[in-house]
């Protein structure tokens, strides 16, 4: 069985536990043994943009060292934000001077050697390939019309984008292979409002309203995301009168398609799954 080293991140151990459970079971059903890093720390949550803020890279790079200690060359993430922060820090230490300074600071750890590729679930599934996904998709998604919502952190900046930052189709490819009918809608690459959910929920409601409206107008029965913060906002920060579209994690939809988890009753009802 192929081994996959996995970085959960805080959200997956707290609000997004369902996402983790569904995804890991599905990934195992695809023939991979998932090994969670035995020790890990917060990814850093938001990538530090200050040029001189070396300290903020220590945490993310320490996680890369933990993966290196496990002999891993790839580190799987399910959270879009963890993916963004970890892969940008991995880019940051491609600069030898940055790497030298980080390693000098972390004198209690082995040096990071720069050989870990951070991989988000959507990339991993795309690399598994549509044929293999289609073969494993039983019962499949039975033509469910799904709008894939990307948000920001999987697509920006373009150096770490999982696909074309403005015209991504990587999730649509996965969903199609699993038997869904992907629905493209222009707002799929817009920001959900992110952490303004705490300080300015009204700003987030405006964003969420236009995203859901756009998805519904283009015919989506279900919106799928791969980010715990987008997931929270799309569900909990809806404006009055927003379309009643259900929102699910990509990993959950994967689990439904592979049959490792049944489609929840309320979603089956709303979307009228054709059984």
């Amino acid at each position: 069985m192929n081994r996959l080293v996995y970085f959960p991140g805080c959200a997956l151990k707290d609000q997004a536990q369902g996402y983790e459970a569904a995804t890991l079971a599905a990934v195992q059903a695809l023939g991979y043994a998932v090994q969670e890093l035995p020790r890990w720390n917060c990814c850093g949550t938001v990538y530090a943009l200050a040029q001189d803020d070396l300290m903020r890279h220590v945490g993310p790079v320490r996680n890369l060292i933990r993966a290196q200690e496990q002999g891993a060359t790839e580190l799987l993430t399910l959270c879009a934000m963890c993916y963004n922060t970890l892969s940008r820090s991995a880019l940051f230490v491609r600069n030898p001077e940055n790497l030298r300074r980080i390693n000098a600071f972390m004198d209690e750890e082995e040096d990071y050697r720069g050989g870990v590729r951070v991989l988000h679930l959507v990339q991993w599934l795309a690399e598994i390939g549509p044929e293999r996904l289609a073969r494993a998709a039983n019962p499949g998604l039975q033509g469910l019309r799904i709008g894939a919502y990307y948000g920001c952190t999987l697509l920006r900046p373009k150096e770490v984008a999982v696909d074309h930052p403005e015209k991504p189709e990587i999730m649509e490819g996965i969903l199609a292979a699993l038997g869904a009918e992907p629905v493209l809608f222009p707002e799929r690459v817009e920001c959900c409002g992110a952490y303004l959910a705490v300080t300015r929920p009204e700003a987030v409601r405006l964003r969420v309203g236009s995203i859901l409206l756009s998805a519904a107008h283009h015919g989506a029965e279900l919106v799928v995301t791969a980010c715990p913060l987008c997931h929270f906002n799309l569900r909990e920060r809806r404006p009055l009168g927003a379309p009643r579209l259900p929102v699910a994690y990509l990993g959950e939809v994967l689990a439904w398609a592979l049959g490792t988890q049944p489609i929840p009753e309320e979603i089956a009802r709303t979307v009228g799954v054709r059984r």
Binding site: V58, D107, E108
Partner: protein, 233 residues
Amino acid sequence: MNQVGVETKTEMVTVYIMGQAYKVPAGLTILKAMEYAGFRLTRGVGCRGGFCGACATVYRLPGDYRLYADLACQTPVRDGMYLALLPSTPAERKPYDLRKVKPGGETLLSLYPELARCVACNTCTKACPQKLEVMDAVQAALRGDVAQVAELTFDCLSCGLCTLRCPAEIPHYHVWQLSRRLYGAYLAPKAEHLRRRLQEMREGKFQAELDRLMSLSKEELRELYKAREIEPE
């Protein structure tokens, strides 16, 4: 002089206490070396046995950039050591009612929001004289895993060295104490046998035997004690 007529020289080392050089006998602990040098310690000293956490201290060694942290009562002096008196690390313990707080991340973060300032620099872990994985405990607190925090910090002495060194200014030992209390109050498995026994006591199951013991004379009690059942070794 150890033996009569044989003069032996005690090996001496030089240590620097607050910048001043002192010659002290090798083998002393930092705490005893300070007292040997004439400091009278009324704070920053407690059990002298490595349990109370009062004598937290920091030191440097010649030719080494690291700032070491340890308990003064447990660390032998070495030649050339730079020492300092470090009475305590101030930190505010936030008030809470244990019966009203939930055993989760919201409780820890609402009382100690500075937890979220952790950048995973690991300086706390390097400072811990108990060799605890302090940063892992901060990270567990951040993701609301109170049970893990309680487990990782079980041996914490509240010496405050992590708290002194933390660039995020987290008051670790108060967070750990709160986590262990939450764990004990809400998460640890309940002792069912204790509940049953208390119930039996309330129902008077042992009352007759207790009354009989209370009615015995001192002499009769002594005899009874001698004849008691002792578990085989």
